[in-house]
């Protein structure tokens, strides 16, 4: 009996001792781990840059680990409890503030200020700031624009829309049979909010005060498009990938979508004659800033992480890398017009990017975002008037701000 227990106990110890951490050194180099959710087509480029960095110096060895996008935030939260976190973490920019406030990331303000190559665009840089301190580096940015079917516009003698009246008219004329004039994503998550905000800002509204007359005007405009049948009612459950399929299949003549969709439209609708233009405006052009940041996890290999990031997000590498993956560098000293001068599609996005504003940053952005997309749902389903829906959302947002 005793022998058996002894045997079992030693088995348990053997198991525990084997499941320890991997060695932190590879070929005499310190290991720096990164969590990311890059998928095709970005991931190939990203990994090749890591290989390049690894071969350039002999102090650090960077190791990338894929974590699915939906899983990543959960992993950070659980990692914070279990102490199992990478050295560098990737994060979508509206989520950054929550985790910065939670104290998960290293405050890199001093290192940042001492870095020679620290020129960043204001919007992306704001997204890594919390309480005036810097907790990460933006790695690539993107924004939304209007994709349109060139042939459909020409057949109907329509100009490319530049303002809301033209957009509404084009959507009306192009709505025929199975085809809707315009689609955007209003799905009940961050994608929906991302696509709602440009309209509010374009009408002259403010993200912090969405129930202003301008906000109401924007939501009324969108609601009318749906009510009149120029936009599909199904956009309430369509994510950005879903509306891209509608556009590719010819079931939508125009769609609001991001620059990261360009390679995919080219691939999936090779015979389509399409182009992009800035989102038609009411009072001013507007878009919302998308993109991811890289953060250094507190107490991990900060020196190694900083060394890699300052190489990867240096102006020289950032320009090369972002062009390769169809996104934009967050560095302010890179001339986007020059980089994309030969690409008419990306040039439009580059132009639109000037009008892109960041979401938040706010540690409770997910809740604020939820209130906003709920307001769009209440209005598009005609449950509430745009004014009622936005008043209700604003009340929630005020409550969130007050509690904070």
């Amino acid at each position: 009996m005793k022998k058996i227990i002894l045997f079992l106990v030693s088995l348990v110890f053997l198991f525990i001792s084997c499941s320890g951490n991997d060695s932190e050194v590879v070929d005499g180099k310190e290991v720096v781990t990164i969590w990311h959710y890059f998928a095709e087509p970005d991931v190939g480029a990203f990994l090749s840059y890591i290989d390049e960095y690894n071969s350039l110096q002999d102090k650090y060895f960077v190791k990338a680990q894929f974590v699915p996008r939906e899983e990543l935030l959960k992993q950070y939260a659980m990692g914070a409890v279990a102490g199992e976190l990478p050295d560098i973490g990737m994060i979508d920019n509206p989520d950054q503030a929550s985790f910065s406030k939670a104290g998960l990331f290293e405050d890199i303000t001093d290192r940042f200020n001492a870095w020679e190559d620290n020129q960043f665009l204001e919007g992306p840089l704001n997204s890594v700031k919390y309480d005036g301190r810097i907790y990460g580096l933006p790695h690539a940015v993107n924004c939304l624009a209007l994709f349109y079917d060139v042939d459909a516009l020409e057949e109907n003698n329509l100009e490319v829309p530049t303002n809301w009246a033209q957009l509404e008219n084009a959507a009306k004329v192009l709505t025929k049979g199975d085809t809707k004039g315009l689609v955007w994503s209003a799905v009940k998550n961050e994608e929906g909010t991302f696509q709602l905000l440009p309209w509010i800002i374009s009408a002259g509204g403010n993200i912090n005060k969405i129930n202003s007359p301008e906000g109401v005007r924007a939501l009324t405009f969108l609601t009318d498009l749906v009510k009149n049948g120029y936009a599909s009612k199904e956009l309430l459950i369509w994510g950005q990938a879903d509306i891209e399929k509608q556009f590719n299949a010819g079931k939508a003549a125009m769609m609001i979508n991001g620059s990261w969709m360009v390679p995919s439209v080219l691939k999936n609708a090779p015979n389509k004659n399409w182009s992009v233009t800035k989102i038609p405006m009411d009072k001013k052009y507007a878009s919302v800033l998308g993109g991811e940041n890289f953060t250094i996890i507190k107490g991990k290999n900060v020196d190694g992480a900083w060394d890699f990031l300052t190489w990867f997000i240096s102006s020289e590498i950032s320009e090369r890398y972002c062009k390769e993956i169809g996104k934009f560098s967050p560095k302010s000293n890179i001339d986007i017009e020059k980089v994309y001068g030969d690409d008419p599609i990306m040039k439009v996005f580059a132009d639109q990017l000037k009008y892109a504003v960041p979401r938040g940053p706010h540690p409770k952005w997910p809740e604020i975002s939820s209130a906003m997309i709920n307001a769009e749902h209440e209005s598009l389903t005609l449950n509430k008037t745009p004014q009622e829906a936005l008043d209700e959302a604003q009340a929630k947002i005020d409550q969130i701000n007050k509690a904070d």
Binding site: N189, L236, S370, H377, N383
Partner: protein, 296 residues
Amino acid sequence: MKMIKKINSYEILFVIPALGYMLIFVGYPIIYNIVLSFQDTTLMNIGSASKEFVGLENYKNIFSSPLIFITLKNTLFYTVMCLIIQFSLGFLMALFFNLKFRISGFLRGIIIISWMMPTIATALVFKFMLSETGIVNNYLMILGLIKEPILWISNQDTAMWGLIIANSWVGIPFNMLLLSTGLSNVPDSIIESAKIDGAVAWQRLIFIVVPMIKPAILSVLVLGFVYTFKVFDLVFTMTAGGPVNSTEVLSTYSYLLSFKYYYFSQGASVANILAIFLIIVSFIYVRLTSKEEVGE
């Protein structure tokens, strides 16, 4: 008289692995979740060692928001409707395939495939099929049953029905399989003697078959309730809880609180409310089946 045999010390060893597994992987998370629901754990303090105990504060917070009542109502409606549809159709199909015609086994095998599909795949396929221009609307229009396409899952009034249809498609074969196993255990001789005694088909069904397969019916209903009540992936993929909140259920609400808003304790509280329902149903099941065994 003492019924339980004295257990030899070495026999305990065979139980230890299973017991250990249950304690670590089932017992611990349940207890942890209960403890979590009485603490104030958010993203902001998750890393620190001590969390404040706040008593029933989380439950108070949850019940002060109308969303919990909407999700409770949605979850119950979804569960009951799914159970009714999948049980009745599953039972009819089980009776049908019990007729033992030539290709019944083959057909039964094919139908069971839908139950084996990953839920995510089912959800995506149904999202397409139930869309405005999808195949379901297309056929309904061709048959002249509807004039305008029905917005199955993008209209708040019908979205829940879209989910119920998708889930029933998965649930029917499962019900059929369990019920037909029960049916095959009903001895032909009893049915034959009932026939001789003059019982017509429906009488044989209600008074002989149903009582005889009662254990199978009970387990189908209980398992069905448990599977349906804790639905997550189907809802998450097809509607993400929308339009408005018409398809938000307890599990997606718990996820929203825990992993979108990072109120881990409130999320745990909602999960516990969900668990309470499942425990009650399981308890009733255990009571009913133990009575059954005593009666035998």
